[in-house]
């Protein structure tokens, strides 16, 4: 039983613990500890990618640690193709996040500790095969957000208008505590739904184990699936920025400090989408099949809605936050198509968008740190003062509008192809329109902020990215181009995993695989981790009549 996965999860956690004792004066030590923690995870995920045997596919490097045997809860780790790519993404984002927040001034000990705990949770979710521990890691990943935003965030004013004007007296809408509280509460309402779904699944599958393999293979009856799926979808969807519940993400990201919004938009939103697919679609085929039209419709709205509202924003961070909502819409759209191409595209988009948003928020952080304003109208002509930042921003823009040769294109194209060959043809149209609108507002922002004559007089200390930030930008930039030019680096991992997972999602749904993709309908049951100890069927299963 290899311990690689648990090392990846534990590394940030241990780094966080190591941070606590050191004094707040030795700033550099703290930074190096947190950087070390994230680097260990990054190299770990690289090793996982290296040692993952693509031919065999399925779940590998399984680990098992009992937690509450009497209820069948044990920490069960294993990684499949998807897990590899998402681990890699998380590793990259946390390393660049730590690099980008090198110049943080106040209380950096707690900041880095909370950040690392957050990322440990995220690592856990991607590799966990036990439904309960999946939910546990999910909660850990959500919780430090509150303190991170409330303490280190920044407030922005929102004019009070519209029918709910009287609420402005009670909350200071747009402030950082408001944003932190709204984010935490909405995500936790989501997790309340998930908790109910988790218990329902556990109970329906004989209430003796939480192992996802067993729960996934179990045939739940259709009516149960029909009402559990929306719970899972809304629960995880809130984190993935699904249409009506996305309102926390613009405020949350705009108020969060750089590294936090990088991590949150870059990785945490993927958690939501991953959850919907992993638990929603793979474990509840009939439910998925019944509700997939709604998921697709909302995702299509998401793309267009996010793009359009981004076009009208005046604050730099809000633009990028709304663009994340739009790109997450693409991910959900890919997932909703229930086709091979769609799912490949969805997972690839998770990776690509993660890198892109990470780069964007890092850059915006740099600009904000130097220009102390995020008002696009006030800024102009920054390219002269900071050419490198301008160059990377342009690269980020080109990737987010889906220019081939950047990771963004491959993902979006796969999703469009999947949507077009899937049952609901017309979903692809708003998605393509969304991609086009993204091109407009993204390039317009580049022109407003970076191009144009020289920076106006009020920005005097505009110096370019320094070495640590530069490192972060270089890592993200190369990822975008590398995975854009040669997508097989990642697709070789994602594709076999999609075939297997899709088989699970469509096997009981009598959904004949669409002719075009000629899915080889072999449905090997997911390789159960070796010799998982049969959970003790505890005596109290009888319960009260």
């Amino acid at each position: 039983m290899s311990h690689l996965l648990s090392i990846i999860i534990a590394a940030p956690f241990v780094a966080a613990l190591l941070l606590l004792p050191c004094r707040s004066t030795d700033r550099l030590l703290m930074r190096w500890i947190s950087l070390l923690g994230s680097l260990v995870s990054l190299t770990g995920s690289l090793i996982v990618a290296w040692r993952y045997d693509i031919k065999a596919g399925g779940l590998q490097m399984a680990e098992l640690y009992p937690l509450v045997p009497s209820l069948g809860i044990d920490i069960r780790l294993a990684v499949d193709g998807w897990g590899v790519s998402l681990l890699l993404l998380t590793g990259i984002i946390i390393t660049t996040g730590v690099l980008a927040s090198w110049t943080l001034k106040d209380r950096e000990k707690e900041f880095f500790a909370l950040l690392l705990i957050l990322v440990a949770g995220v690592f856990g979710v991607f590799v966990c095969q036990d439904l309960f521990v999946f939910f546990l890691f999910y909660e850990i990943a959500v919780l430090p957000m509150y303190l991170l935003i409330a303490i280190w965030g920044s407030s922005n004013k929102v004019a009070d208008a519209g029918p709910f004007r009287f609420i402005w007296k009670l909350f200071d809408i747009g402030g950082r505590e408001y944003a932190a509280m709204k984010l935490t509460l909405m995500l936790l309402v989501g997790s309340a739904f998930i908790l109910v779904a988790v218990i329902a699944l556990y109970q329906a599958a004989g209430a003796h184990t939480f192992d996802m393999g067993v729960l996934g293979a179990f045939k739940y009856d259709a009516s149960l699936q029909k009402w559990i799926f929306p719970l899972v979808w809304l629960g995880f969807g809130t984190l993935a920025g699904v249409f009506p519940f996305h309102t926390w993400s613009p405020d949350g990201h705009a108020s969060a400090p750089t590294a936090v919004s990088m991590l949150h938009a870059g990785v945490l939103m993927k958690l939501g989408a991953f959850g919907v697919i992993r638990i929603g679609m793979m474990m509840l085929p009939e439910g998925a099949h019944a509700w997939v039209w709604a998921v697709g419709l909302i995702a299509a709205i998401n793309v267009l809605y996010g793009a359009l509202s981004a076009m009208a924003q005046k604050d730099l961070k809000y633009i990028i936050a709304y663009s994340s909502v739009s790109h997450m819409g693409v991910v959900m759209l890919g997932a909703a198509t229930l086709t091979q191409g769609g799912w490949n595209g969805a997972v690839y988009q998770m990776f690509a968008h993660g890198i892109m948003t990470g780069l964007f928020f890092a850059l915006v952080g740099l600009v904000y740190e130097r220009a102390h304003t995020r008002e696009v109208g006030k800024m102009g002509g920054f390219a002269q003062a900071m050419p490198i930042v301008a160059a990377f921003f342009t690269l980020g823009c080109l990737s987010s509008l889906g220019l081939p040769g950047t990771a963004g294109f491959v993902a979006e194209f796969l999703v469009f192809a999947g949507a077009w060959s899937g049952p609901h043809l017309w979903w692809a149209l708003p998605a393509v329109a969304g991609a086009f609108i993204t091109a407009i507002y993204v390039l317009r922002v580049t022109r407003d902020v970076f191009w144009g004559p020289g920076p106006s007089e009020q920005f005097h200390d505009l110096l370019d990215a320094r070495k640590t930030e530069l490192g972060a930008l270089w890592i993200l930039g190369t990822c975008i181009v590398l995975f854009g030019l040669w997508p097989r680096l990642l697709l070789d991992y994602i594709d076999p995993a999609t075939t297997q997972n899709l088989a699970m999602a469509t096997q009981t749904a009598q959904l004949t695989p669409t002719p075009a993709t000629a899915v080889a309908a072999q449905a090997p049951p997911p390789v159960a981790p070796p010799a998982a100890t049969a959970a003790v069927a505890h005596a109290a299963a009888g319960g009260g009549r």
Binding site: A150, A192, F193, A539, A540
Partner: protein, 478 residues
């Protein structure tokens, strides 16, 4: 009746002896040496706790009037832990504020604990009610212990508690009278098979109303916020925890043990009360400024979840309820002691007195955060397992809607818990000097912290013990 066949009740007897001992030593100690009365009580309590592990406490006393076994032992340990932490935490306060009446305080406290320890074993209605009163009446005394030293608040709190308590005792007695009278006996095991009749229904309801006062279930909870705010904090810590566990133990024995066939009567009522308690508890806490009132309402909210556990089945539900109570006892004591530490530093009891705690005393802020997270039910702290197990039990008993309602209210709860955490970490306060905490109080808080984190990381042993206790009360296990 000689000493030997009192073996199963050994814990109760020992505690009574301890009370007497403390009362006597109080006579001979000079005011200056009175503080080590606190340490004496602490020593005695830990001795009894150790005894609970070493002695064999199974078997029956006086022809099944009092039955030992896993159920009374589990609860006894819970009460003893609560007592230990209260004494340890409050020792400094008591010694300073009531130097001359410490002895009486500890005696009354020990007697109250005796009542609690004897309660779970009682299989006879009379013994049950007397133990219930032995648990209740000392609380009135303890609440008013600050007398008129610092303003009228403690007295008013005690008076409110007393008046409603006495009213509830009357209700309990009348209900018990009806039940016992109809069945023709006060022995609960016979009561089970008594003939069903509307009068018995009313008797059950009145009994339920009387017992529900002690736990602070919704319509009967009105005294909770005022008493918590008025009474001195260490007493409130004990008051918020131990009688609730005692009340629930009585409810389990009366409802599940004595009146299972009347489930169609008290089942729906308890469900309605549970929903009401959740709503009032969580909503009430949102707009609170005083930390103790907030914790009072949060306590009422938590009772809602425990009631949900009680409802969800005779064995698994009750087991999960016990685990929830264990987690609740430790967490609530911890939170109150932290609030006490902050109040002792002269800051008062409003939430804004917690401002900047993160800087002034990092470990206190960290423990406060962990306790709040445990109350809110966030992973890797005791509270999460508690809520989760209760939800599983409730789901298994078919209360799926209640689980959803409970989960949503947990989110509302997080709102006001985070409000306090925000005060500690986010707000900046003018005062920057460190908060100095007395050794005993610090020890108590750390003990709670270890328990909460320990339960969070490795809940299995307590889960097994709770299940054994549940089996023993429903007559299956020893």
């Amino acid at each position: 009746m000689n000493f030997h066949d009192l073996q199963p009740m050994a814990l109760g007897v020992l505690l009574a002896a301890a009370a007497a001992l403390v009362l006597l030593t109080d006579l001979f100690t000079k005011p200056s040496t009175k503080p080590n009365l606190g340490w004496l009580t602490f020593g005695l309590l830990s001795a009894v706790l150790v005894a609970s592990f070493t002695l064999d406490l199974r078997g029956e006393v006086a022809s099944h009037v009092w039955r030992g076994g896993a159920w009374p032992v589990f609860l006894a340990r819970l009460f003893l832990v609560a007592g230990l932490i209260t004494v340890l935490g409050g020792m400094d306060h008591i010694a300073r504020k009531w130097t001359y009446r410490q002895g009486e305080f500890y005696t009354v406290l020990l007697l109250c604990l005796t009542g609690m320890v004897l309660l779970p074993g009682a299989r006879d209605l009379v013994l049950l009610i007397v133990c219930f009163e032995l648990m209740g009446i000392p609380l009135y005394i303890l609440t008013a212990f600050a007398k008129t030293d610092s303003g009228p608040k403690p007295v008013e709190a005690a008076l409110k508690l007393f008046l409603i308590g006495a009213g509830s005792t009357a209700l309990t007695v009348f209900g018990a009278a009806l039940l016992a009278g109809l069945a023709g006996t006060t022995d609960m095991s016979v009561l089970v098979s008594s003939t069903l009749s509307p009068l018995q229904g009313i008797g059950t309801m009145l009994l339920l109303a009387g017992l529900a006062f002690k736990i602070g279930v919704a319509p009967f909870h009105m005294w909770v916020p005022d008493t918590y705010e008025g009474a001195p904090t260490p007493v409130v810590a004990f008051l918020s925890v131990a009688p609730k566990v005692g009340g629930f133990a009585t409810l389990v024995m009366v409802l599940w043990q004595a009146l299972p066939r009347l489930i169609h009567v008290w089942g729906p009522v308890t469900l309605v009360l549970c929903a009401l308690t959740l709503t009032v508890g969580n909503l009430g806490a949102i707009a609170q400024r005083n930390i103790k009132r907030l914790l009072a309402y949060s306590g009422v909210g938590q009772v809602g979840y425990v009631l949900l556990g009680l409802l969800s089945g005779r064995e698994f539900g009750v087991a999960m309820m016990l685990f929830y109570l264990a987690a609740y006892v430790v967490t609530n004591l911890g939170v109150f002691l932290v609030a006490h530490a902050v109040a002792e530093a002269g800051d008062g009891e409003t939430i804004s007195s917690f401002d900047g705690l993160g800087r002034r005393s990092p470990w206190l802020a960290m423990s406060l955060l962990l306790f709040l997270l445990s109350l809110a039910g966030i992973p890797f702290v005791a509270g999460f397992w508690a809520k989760f197990f209760v939800f599983v039990a409730a789901w298994r008993a078919g209360q799926s809607e209640m689980v959803l309602v409970g989960a949503l209210f947990a989110t509302v709860a997080l709102f006001y818990y985070l409000g306090v955490a925000r005060a500690a970490y986010v707000n900046v306060s003018a005062k920057t000097e460190k908060i100095v905490v007395s050794r005993a109080l610090a020890g108590a808080i750390i003990a709670c912290l270890l328990a909460v984190v320990g339960l969070g990381a490795w809940p299995s042993p307590v889960v097994e013990a709770a299940m054994a206790a549940a089996r023993s009360v429903s007559g299956i296990g020893p």
